[in-house]
C-alpha cells in the first residue's frame, strides 16, 4: 500500500501506545497527524483508564500535532443519524469519527478498538482504517514491540472478521 500523504487521524489508544513505545516523534515526523480535543484530554493522567499511566506532556503533545480539532453537537448529531452505533463508542472515539465524517479530504483513521473499526466498516470506510505498525514502518521506523492490536496483521484479520459479521447481520 502506498504511503499515506494526507492527514492521519489518531485516537487516544494510539497516542498512548506511541508514547509507550517511544514512537510518537517518528509518527508525527512522518505524517500530518491530527486528533480531536477529547482524545487529547483522554491522554492526560487521570483520564487514560489504565493502571500504569503514561506521563504525556500536554504542551509537547499539542505542539507535535498538525491539528487538534474541536467537535461540536452539529458534527455529533450528523454522525449519530448516519449510524446509531456511534453511541457505543467512547467520547474521544465519537469525536474523532464525528470529525472524520465531516471531512472531504483523503484522511485515514488509526484506532484499534473493534467497535470503532466496526463503525468505520459499517459506513464504508474499511480502506481508510490503518494500523499503527504500517504507518511507522512506512515512515522508516522499526515498529517492534507494539501490542498485537496495533499490528497490520491483527488489523487485517479483524477487519475480515468484521466484514463477515456485518454481512451476516444484513442477511
Amino acid at each position: 500500500m502506498a504511503r499515506q500523504r494526507g492527514p492521519v487521524l489518531v485516537d487516544t489508544n494510539v497516542i498512548l501506545e506511541c508514547w509507550r513505545m517511544d514512537a510518537w516523534r517518528a509518527l508525527t515526523g512522518g505524517y500530518r497527524v491530527e486528533t480531536v480535543e477529547d482524545c487529547v484530554i483522554e491522554t492526560q493522567t487521570g483520564f487514560q483508564r489504565r493502571r500504569q499511566e503514561q506521563q504525556i506532556d500536554n504542551a509537547a503533545l499539542q505542539s507535535s500535532l498538525a491539528a487538534i480539532q474541536k467537535v461540536g453537537d452539529a458534527e455529533r448529531a450528523a454522525a449519530i443519524v448516519r449510524e446509531p452505533m456511534f453511541s457505543f463508542l467512547d467520547l474521544g472515539e465519537q469525536s474523532l469519527w464525528a470529525h472524520a465524517l465531516s471531512r472531504t479530504d483523503n484522511w485515514v483513521l488509526c484506532g484499534p478498538d473493534k467497535a470503532s473499526l466496526r463503525f468505520g466498516v459499517r459506513l464504508g470506510f474499511r480502506e481508510r482504517l490503518v494500523a499503527l505498525e504500517g504507518l511507522l514502518q512506512d515512515a522508516g521506523h522499526k515498529a517492534s514491540g507494539l501490542r498485537p492490536a496495533y499490528t497490520s496483521s491483527w488489523l487485517s484479520k479483524t477487519l475480515g472478521e468484521i466484514v463477515i459479521m456485518e454481512a451476516s447481520k444484513r442477511k
Binding site: R49, A74, A77, I80, V81, P84, F88, A115, A149
Partner: protein
Amino acid sequence: MGTNLIGARIKALREQRGLSQEDLAHVFGFKDRQTVSAIETGERRLSADELLTAVQKLGATLDYFINPFLLAGEGKFSWRQSNVALERLNAFERVAGRWVAANRTLAPEVGRPPPNLRQALKLTSKSSYEEAMAAGERFAADFELGPVPAERLAEVMERRLGVLVLMVDAIEGISGAACRLLDLDAVLISRNEVVGRRHFDLAHELFHILTWDTMPPEHVEDASERSKIRVEQLANNFASAVLMPTEVLGRFEPAKVNNVQWLNDTAEALQVTATALKWRLVALGRLDAVQANKIPDAALRNNGRDVSGRKPPPLYSKAFMEVIALAIDEGHMSARKTADLLDMRLDDLAELGAAHGVKLALDL
C-alpha cells in the same frame, strides 16, 4: 442496535414535560402531529438538524438523546434500604440504571436475548403467609435448588428465569433492589452484606420480580426481615421458604441444648442468617415465639462468626461479564466506553472478568 433510541427519548422527554404531539410538531415546525408520532415509533428518522432543534428547544443535552445507557422514562426500581436519603438513592439509581440498560441493549446483540415469556407467582396481596411460604417451598422444589438452596438461587434466576442478577457496591444503607423494564427483570444485591443477608435479599427481590404485576412493590422499602408492610411480609415468607424449605430443614438434627449454637451452625450450613432461620422455625411451629424472642439478636449476629476476613463476591455476575466480553470482542461497544460505563480502568476490568472466569479482549 438502538435504532429508535432518539425517537424513544423524544417521547420520554415530551411526556416528562407534559407536551402533546401537537406541541412538539409546533416546536419542530412540522405540519401535523403524525410526523412526531412517526419519529417516536421509529418509522421516521430524525435529521441531524432536527436532532439539534430537539437539543436546543427541549433543553436537554445531545447525550440525553444518544446515550443508550440511560433509563429515560422507563424502568421501575424497588429499593430495599435503611435510612438512605431519597436524593442519594435516586443518584445511585441513575448509576444502577446504566448497568441494567447496558445489559438490556447488549445482550440481544451478542445472542443472549431475554426470555420471550415472563414467569409469575399465582399470589395476590390477599394471599396468606402460608400460601406465600407454600409458593416458596414449591419454587425450591420445581427449580431443584437442592440441599443448600441459597447456593443455586442466583444461577437459577439468571439461567432459568432470565433475571439479571448483579452484585454491586451499593451506597451505605442499600441492601438490594428489584428492577422491572418492559423487556428485562433485574435484581441488584449489595455485595458487601454478609452472605446470609445477601441470599435473603435475593430471594426477597425474586418475590417482587415474580409478583410485580399483581403486587407492584414500593419504590423504597425498609430492609427488615420483620417488615410490617403486607407485601413485604409475603416476600419475606416466600424468601424464607425458598432458602429453608421444610424438606431441607428436616435433614438437620433438631436442637437439643443450646439453641443459639444450633441456629448459628445450621444457618451457616444453609448460607442464611440465623435470625431468618429462627423466624422460619417459628413460622413452621418448630420453635415457640416466646422462646424465640428470648434469643438475643446479638448472639445470632453474623451467625456467631468472625466475618472480618471474608471477601465479598466479585462485582456484577458471570453472565453480565460474558455479555460485556462478547460486546467488546465483536465490536458492539468500545473498550473505553465499557470502562466508562463501569467506571473502571481497563486493567481492573480485565481482572474482574478473570475473577468470573471470563476473558475480556482489552489489550489496547
